[in-house]
Structure formats: structure tokens, C-alpha cells
């Protein structure tokens, strides 16, 4: 693994953000809109009289962390799409960069962009709606780490789909978080789901995170074993995503897909 080759990817992304307001605005814009929308929603729900439920940290906090995970995933996919959009695969992959270095470059890029988005969300949620993580402190760190790992796994799996199916498959990627959200217990407990769907939630690390966060916020006990399960699942998904991407990359090398990756849709 050579650091300089890996750093080429985040540097490219930095140059792109530096030179394009159109890229910076969505990075901060969507998460800000989400915070404002859900901030007012929590304010409304808090006013309904259910005083025992702390909507601001439980709901607005959950939305914030869900958005963070989504940004982590999109951080990986967007950096990859830059090579798709600029038809740059041939130049990049005829260089000495390895698959592992390329993926690490995408992940590094994602760390940067997702942290910027997280900072923007925290500022808006704190300043406008009084959300504060101070009472929970470092207890939240493992939860955030699980979401980060799962976001990376989703991002790598998503770019494997696009590499395999062609640039038009980009449209499969954007709705992935929305499709997963109902099963991840972001806004409600897993027990709200029909019994038949709960096993899906059990396979998704974010469901443990959001259940755990709700327990922490409401002062209930949270079992460490569940956090360990979430960590283990997230790591398994990362390994699985890496394996899938490597297989797809190998297929692309064998079939010539990588050398002529510019067609609208390839089978």
C-alpha cells in the first residue's frame, strides 16, 4: 500500500470542491435542510404533551446520525462517480494504483466530506434547536463508529453495482439509504415493525445503534453485547463489500469493461 497513490483520490476531490460551488452547496445544503425540517418536526412533537419522551435528542439526534451515515456512503460513491463522469477509469487504472489503494482513497475522501457535513448538522441542530450531545459525551463514539463502518460498506457495495452494470446504474445508488431506513429503526423502535420484518432489522447494524441511542438518551440500560454485534456485523459487511468489489473489478478486467467504461448501460 503506497500512501501517495491513495492520497491522489482525496486530493482530486479537494480540487473539485475548491473549484466548484455546485459541489459544495449540496454537501452542506441537504443536511442543513434535513436538520431544519426535522428540527421543526421535533419542536411540534414536543409540544403535543408527551413530556416523558425527549424528542430533540431521540428524533433529531437520530436523523443527524442517519444523515451522517448516508453522507459517509455518498462520500465513497460520489468520489467514484467523479471517475465515471469524467471517463477517467482508463487513466486511473492504467496507473500503478491498486484496488485496495483506490478504495482507501475513496474512504479517505468520504471521511473528509462526511465530517464537514456532520459539523454543519451539529451547528444547525445545536444553534437552532438546542440539540446537545454533551450529556452523553464519549458514549456516543462507538455508535458513530458503527454507522461510519456501515456507511463505508454500503458505499463500496454501491460502486461495485455501478462498475458491474454501467454508469446508468448510478440511479440504483441514490435511493439505497431510503430503502434501508424503514428497517434500521431510525425513527421508531424495532418492535414497531411487523414481526416478519424484524429479522431484516437484526441483520442491519444501524438498528442496534438507534435502539442503543434511544436507550442512552432515555436513561435506560443498553447492553454492550448488542454494540459488539453491531460492530461485528459492520465489519462483516465491509469485508463482504470489499470482496464483491474485487470480484466485480476482476470481471471488468476480464471482459474489457474497464477499458471501455463509457457506454450508457452494460450487461
Amino acid at each position: 500500500m503506497k500512501l501517495s497513490r491513495m492520497l491522489a483520490i482525496p486530493l482530486r476531490q479537494y480540487y473539485l470542491y475548491k473549484g466548484s460551488t455546485a459541489r459544495v452547496v449540496p454537501l452542506l445544503g441537504w443536511v442543513t435542510i434535513d436538520m431544519v425540517l426535522w428540527g421543526f418536526m421535533t419542536r411540534f412533537l414536543s409540544g403535543l404533551g408527551q413530556t416523558q419522551y425527549r424528542f430533540v435528542p431521540a428524533l433529531l439526534g437520530a436523523v443527524l446520525f442517519w444523515d451522517f451515515m448516508t453522507r459517509v456512503m455518498f462520500g465513497v460513491t460520489t468520489a467514484f462517480f467523479e471517475d465515471v463522469w469524467s471517463r477517467n477509469f482508463l487513466n486511473v487504472f492504467s496507473s500503478p494504483i491498486t484496488v485496495a489503494e483506490y478504495l482507501c482513497g475513496l474512504v479517505t475522501t468520504s471521511i473528509g466530506t462526511s465530517l464537514v457535513a456532520l459539523a454543519a448538522m451539529v451547528v444547525v441542530a445545536t444553534a437552532a434547536f438546542g440539540l446537545s450531545f454533551a450529556p452523553y459525551g464519549l458514549m456516543l463514539a462507538p455508535f458513530v463508529m458503527v454507522l461510519f463502518l456501515f456507511g463505508i460498506a454500503l458505499g463500496i457495495a454501491a460502486i461495485a453495482i455501478v462498475l458491474r452494470l454501467g454508469p446508468a446504474a448510478e440511479w440504483f445508488v441514490w435511493p439505497i439509504p431510503a430503502l434501508m431506513a424503514p428497517f434500521c429503526a431510525v425513527y421508531y423502535p424495532v418492535t414497531t415493525l411487523p414481526v416478519a420484518f424484524r429479522w431484516i432489522a437484526l441483520l442491519l447494524p444501524p438498528s442496534y445503534v438507534f435502539e442503543g441511542m434511544r436507550a442512552v438518551v432515555s436513561g435506560q440500560d443498553f447492553h454492550g453485547a448488542e454494540l459488539v454485534t453491531a460492530f461485528a456485523l459492520a465489519l462483516v459487511y465491509i469485508l463482504l463489500a470489499y470482496w464483491i468489489f474485487s470480484r466485480v473489478f476482476r470481471h471488468a478486467l476480464r471482459t474489457g469493461l474497464l477499458a471501455r467504461y463509457s457506454a450508457e448501460t452494460l450487461n
Binding site: 492520497l7 482530486r12 473549484g19 469524467s86 500503478p96 491498486t98 474489457g256 477499458a259
Partner: protein, 255 residues
């Protein structure tokens, strides 16, 4: 022409084959490119030139055969082999949303170029790109973009340079300068160049040796200045047309 004929080739291709299902795109070709040598790879569209170059670049896996770059087996030492390779093609422009300098900076990292600022200035000078240093590549003319691609290809001081129709979109004056630059680069730095082109005048001027590829096979090979006469043709272009029309009848053309 070949000043270092006895030294190890920078590119050694052995029995290279590529099948796409039933279609055999490249059929067991073998050739070498020596240091200081410019070799032309000629053939009709679909003859297998770009497939061959893609395999040498490591972006297409051969069905059979081996590729050694500067003594390194590409299949086992991909990164090290590609580190000493440069590539430019008219169909592979650099990202248009980055400036010339930014693109060079990124590829310098990918190729681990050590003295980047100095090297960047050198290639910008060599390809007359200094005035475009901070321009986004997308706003440059196709000829200027081709020169940026060539600058990127030379950035890592490659031992092997793969050029797929490098002067296709360049005006004659710039094309002449580029041919001279690459020719000089090859002669003075011990670089081997594999060059594809449909411009036979250019091939004759710049190449030490040419290989005619037809239906994935090398059917003719030799000095581009001597080959036409050997096969009873007036020019290299006449020979190319003959090969294109009757590729399988080349055995009838007595040398």
C-alpha cells in the same frame, strides 16, 4: 536506428491472446520493444491494436500469454511494471473539470513522481503548455488536451511509452513538434515507444520498426522505409491498403 539493440527489451510480449467468447480479438502475438526504439502498431479499426495496448496497460486481462515491462511480469508485479509505463490516447483525455496543473499533480501522486514541481515545469515546457497551466482541461482545444495527455504520459519518465494515435487531433505543425519531442525522448532516455497511428507518413518518419496487425495477428513486420519496396509497393500507405484489403494474401506478396 536502434542504438541499444543488445540490451534487454523494455516490453516483451509472448503468445498474447484475448478471446471475447467465440471472438478471438488477439491471436497469440509475440513481439518486443527495445530501449531507444519506436515501434509502430498498424492495422485497420478492429484489428486488435487497442486490445493489445489495453492488455499491456493492465486494464484488460489476457486469455493467454505474458507481458513483461522493463523485466517485470505484469501479471505478478502490476504496480511496479506500470510505474515505469506512460500512456496517452485521444480517447482517454484527462478530467476536464481540473486544471492542467491539478491533473499533473494527481497523476504525479499516482505514479509516485518525486520531484514533481520541477518535473511539472519540464513537461509543461516540452509540450508548450505553460500558458494553460491553470486552465481547466475541459476548455482546451482537442489538440491542447492531447498535449496535456502526452505531458501526463511523460511525467514519470517512463521506460515504456504507449501512444494510441497521439497526434490524431493535432495540427500538422504541433504534430511535427510532438513527433520530434517523443523521438528525442526515446533516443536520449532509452525509452521504448509503442505507437499506433493511421497516418503512414508519420509512422514512416517516427518509427524504427512497424508491425501490421490484422484479425489479431501480426502479419508483417519490418523497417517502415524498407517494407514497401520489399513487397513491391511504392509507399507505406499502399502497403497498408494492400494488407487491409487482402490480409490473408500477404504471403503472395513476395519480399
Amino acid at each position: 536506428m536502434n542504438a541499444h539493440k543488445n540490451t534487454e527489451p523494455v516490453l516483451c510480449v509472448q503468445g498474447l491472446r484475448k478471446d471475447y467468447g467465440e471472438l478471438r480479438a488477439v491471436n497469440g502475438i509475440s513481439f518486443e520493444v527495445g530501449p531507444n526504439e519506436v515501434v509502430g502498431l498498424l492495422g485497420l479499426n478492429g484489428a486488435g491494436k487497442t486490445t493489445t495496448i489495453s492488455m499491456i496497460l493492465g486494464v484488460l486481462e489476457p486469455t493467454a500469454g505474458s507481458i513483461r515491462i522493463d523485466g517485470l511480469d505484469l501479471a505478478h508485479h502490476r504496480s511496479r511494471a506500470l510505474a515505469s509505463t506512460g500512456f496517452a490516447a485521444v480517447y482517454a483525455p484527462l478530467p476536464g473539470n481540473l486544471t492542467v496543473y491539478q491533473n499533473l499533480r494527481i497523476f504525479a501522486l499516482l505514479y509516485s513522481v518525486k520531484d514533481f514541481p520541477k518535473r511539472a515545469e519540464e513537461v509543461l515546457e516540452e509540450f508548450d503548455l505553460k500558458k494553460f497551466r491553470d486552465e481547466k482541461c475541459g476548455v482546451l482545444s482537442s489538440g491542447e488536451q492531447t498535449r496535456v495527455g502526452l505531458a501526463k504520459a511523460m511525467l514519470n519518465r517512463p521506460r515504456l511509452l504507449l501512444l494510441d494515435e497521439p497526434t490524431a487531433s493535432i495540427d500538422p505543425a504541433s504534430a511535427r513538434d510532438i513527433r520530434k519531442t517523443i523521438r528525442d525522448f526515446s533516443q536520449t532516455k532509452g525509452v521504448g515507444v509503442l505507437w499506433t497511428s493511421h497516418n503512414m507518413y508519420e509512422v514512416e518518419e517516427v518509427c524504427d520498426r512497424v508491425m501490421f496487425l490484422s484479425q489479431g495477428e501480426i502479419i508483417l513486420e519490418g523497417d517502415p522505409k524498407a517494407l514497401p519496396a520489399q513487397y513491391g509497393k511504392r509507399t507505406l500507405e499502399d502497403l497498408f491498403v494492400s494488407v487491409a484489403r487482402e490480409p490473408m494474401g500477404m504471403g503472395d506478396l513476395e519480399a
